[in-house]
Amino acid sequence: MKKDRLQADLEGLVKKWKSKKGNLIMILHSIENIYGYVPRDTSLKLSRLLDVPLARIYEVITFYNYFKLEPPGKHNVSVCMGTACYLRDASSLIEEVEKILHIKEGQTTKDSMFHFDVVRCLGCCGLAPVMMIDEKVYGKVKKNEVADILSKYVKEEE
């Protein structure tokens, strides 16, 4: 169902932008805004509709941080690596999140439950090291607390 909508949207977007300069990036922006990422089959269709090689589309997508190639997770997990958090060993939190979720930075778990990013300064350096899940900030996090924090979100689902 979502796919059908995407197809319809894509044709609409191409129609709107086709004749304009810089259209690729504008269309990618819209796709990213609607779906939170740019699916591969959408890029393939876009390549045909715009007559732009797929390689060029991927050059643009991977150049800008804004575009994602994977669907966003239900919950966004961020660990801060700003100066204060860095000094307070945020890297051990990153390792722990990666170990528990079996994904690397920038990836989403197979069940699409969590997406994980490493970010720079969340603006609460006094609480370093900081991790954030969706809108909620967790401060002064210890490595052995990470599993508990994450499990709350899993339980919520059940």
């Binding site: 591969r40 890029s43 393939l44 090689p53 797929l54 390689a55 060029r56 589309i57 991927y58 050059e59 991977t62 150049f63 190639l69």
Partner: protein, 583 residues
């Protein structure tokens, strides 16, 4: 008229056309400015930063590759400051590059390695930051090793602009930048047509030919195998470069070499080219005079072009000559005709082909017809570059070998056979024989000069017994679409066809500029290689395929007639549309 500019480089006055870059101008006065990204075939990308020079009146340094020289400019290309900066740039490049030289496919042939040698690099000054990206050898033709990439951008320029394939791209940015097909896919799932031009232009070991030499040595060692070999036209005029000889035809030394290496019979792809012409010229005349199939006829001996057409221009399949490439024909005939004539069990024959081409490695298993003899017709294909290593491993003083002849049955060739190695050659060879089929007469002058040379699209009109034949020759895949679109347009509008016959070669210059040929190719070198080929043609007593006595014998004793049942089974193939991306 161009405006002329006078400037000084290291105090030497140089006069050049407006728009000339500092690097080009310096070359005119015997000054070499180091670079790892600028290639004579390609526009400057200003990626590596090694070519920096000083300009009087500015405290900035400029990149010579992309700075147009200006009137009265005073340039310094060499002083202790410049050497120091270049050395630092090089050290930074090396900080992202593994110290794997001894095990690298480009060892002793690498532009980065020789630059490091020139600048006397003796230690890792900066902390190593190496990328951990796996090698990709999924196409079976070239190996992509992004860990050795210095991000010069040559392969991408060649793949995207030169060949219009767009298999390779730069993904991500900054420290994470890498060469890759679009997304996390393998080259075999990408549009890659295996032409190997990326490998021929790469300055390092980031892209190189898949090495199959071990298979050849093992077969030669195996007493149960009857090893036979063939060489392509373009190999003979380029292999010498690996031994310091440029533009020389070494056919007869190669024949001697192969016998010394242990091959039982030595064949020549040029013989296969003569057979291809018998079939293809026949096919052309059938289409031209008897309406049997669509015009224009398009040549199909280049496997990278075949792959490109199947992926990007499959609406043209009916225009394609169904005739196999010369290399495949010699392969099939070695395991049928030759085996039969000499009472050899074809299962024991091991056919090795030496090609200027990486895509030929793909062609040998491209479709079911490549097994027409009942076996895989060609067992292994190695490139000119791999052959040069084998010669060195064998310890044979190649250049001083006595001349020998090929084994006649599949080895004797006409002048038409050898010119397949240069752009326009297949067209010229086909016209020589097509003329004979149509008129029953021989050409007084067999030279079709208009099909020769490096112009990207060559057109000509030839009169065969009152019929005007319009032809086009394109080389470098980015020039193909223009030609095909003219055909499409005329068909759509129901107008007279712009051409009757089209030749396409994927690589610039044709096979002499193939992706498996020795490195550092330029247009000047392509011309040297092709003039050695045209000289061979000129020196031949017989210059038309249909006059080759061994070709006549083949048809009389074995195949019957061109386009007959047997030759259809053994010498022809089929095409199908293939997806550009598999995923």
């Amino acid at each position: 008229m161009y405006k002329m500019i006078e400037a000084k480089i290291n105090g030497i006055t140089v006069e050049v056309k407006e728009g000339t870059t500092v690097m080009e101008a310096a070359k005119k006065v015997q000054i070499k400015i180091p670079t790892l990204c600028k290639h004579p075939d390609l526009p400057p990308s200003a990626a590596c930063g090694l070519c920096i020079v000083k300009v009087k009146g500015s405290n900035k340094m400029f990149r010579a590759c992309c700075t147009p020289i200006e009137d009265k400019m005073e340039i310094t290309t060499n002083d202790p400051d410049i050497v120091e900066v270049r050395k630092t740039v090089l050290e930074l490049i090396l900080s992202n590059h593994p110290n794997d030289c001894l095990k690298c496919g480009r060892n002793s042939n690498c532009e980065l390695q020789s630059m490091a040698s020139d600048f006397g690099i003796r230690e890792d000054v900066f902390k190593k930051f190496l990328r951990d990206i796996p090698q990709d050898s999924t196409t079976g033709t070239i190996v992509l090793d992004p860990t050795k990439c210095i991000l010069c951008g040559r392969c991408i320029e060649v793949c995207q602009k030169g060949q219009d394939v767009w298999a390779l791209s730069f993904l991500q940015r900054g420290m994470d930048t890498r060469i890759s097909p679009a997304g996390d896919i393998k080259l075999s799932e990408s549009p890659c047509v295996k032409c190997g031009q990326c490998s021929a232009h790469c300055p390092t070991g980031a892209i190189f030919e898949k090495d199959d030499t071990r298979l050849v040595w093992e077969a030669l060692k195996n007493a149960d195998k009857y090893c036979v070999i063939q060489i392509a036209p373009a190999v003979r005029v380029a292999i010498g470069e690996a031994f310091g000889v440029v533009g020389k035809n070494l056919t007869k030394k190669l024949y001697a070499l192969f016998r010394r290496m242990g091959f039982k019979a030595v064949f020549d792809t040029n013989f296969g080219a003569d057979v291809t012409i018998m079939e293809e010229a026949g096919e052309f005349v059938e289409r031209l005079l008897h309406n049997k199939g669509e015009l224009p006829l398009i040549t199909s001996c280049c496997p990278a072009w075949v792959d490109f057409m199947e992926k990007f221009h499959s609406d043209m399949i009916n225009h394609f000559s169904t005739c196999k490439s010369p290399h495949e024909i010699v392969g099939t005939l070695s395991k049928t005709y030759y085996a039969e004539k000499n009472g050899i069990d074809p299962a024991k024959i091991y056919m090795v082909s030496i090609m200027p081409c990486t895509a030929k490695k793909y062609e040998i298993t491209r479709s079911g017809e490549m097994f027409a003899s009942g076996f895989q017709d060609i067992d292994v294909t190695i490139t000119t570059r791999e052959l040069s290593r084998m010669i060195k491993q064998a310890g044979i003083d190649f250049l001083n070998l006595p001349d020998e002849e090929a084994d006649g049955l599949l080895g004797e060739y006409s002048g038409a056979g050898v010119i397949f190695g240069a752009t326009g050659g297949v067209m010229e060879a086909a016209l020589r024989t097509a003329y004979n089929i149509v008129t029953g007469k021989e050409l007084e002058d067999v030279n079709f000069i208009k099909t020769r040379g490096l112009e990207s699209i060559k057109e000509a009109e030839i009169d065969i017994k009152g019929t005007k034949i319009r032809i086009a020759v394109a080389h470098g895949l980015s020039h193909v679409e223009e030609v095909l679109n003219r055909v499409r347009q005329a068909k759509k509008e129901g107008k007279e066809l712009p051409y009757h016959f089209i030749e396409v070669m994927a690589c610039p210059g044709g096979c002499v500029g193939g992706g498996g040929q020795p490195y550092n190719v330029t247009d000047a070198l392509r011309l040297k290689r092709s003039s050695a080929i045209y000289q061979d043609d000129k020196d031949k007593e017989l210059r038309c395929s249909h006059k080759n006595p061994y070709v006549k014998k083949l048809y009389k004793d074995f195949l019957g007639k061109p386009l007959g049942e047997k030759s259809h089974k053994l010498c022809h193939t089929e095409y199908k549309a293939r997806p550009i991306y598999i995923r």
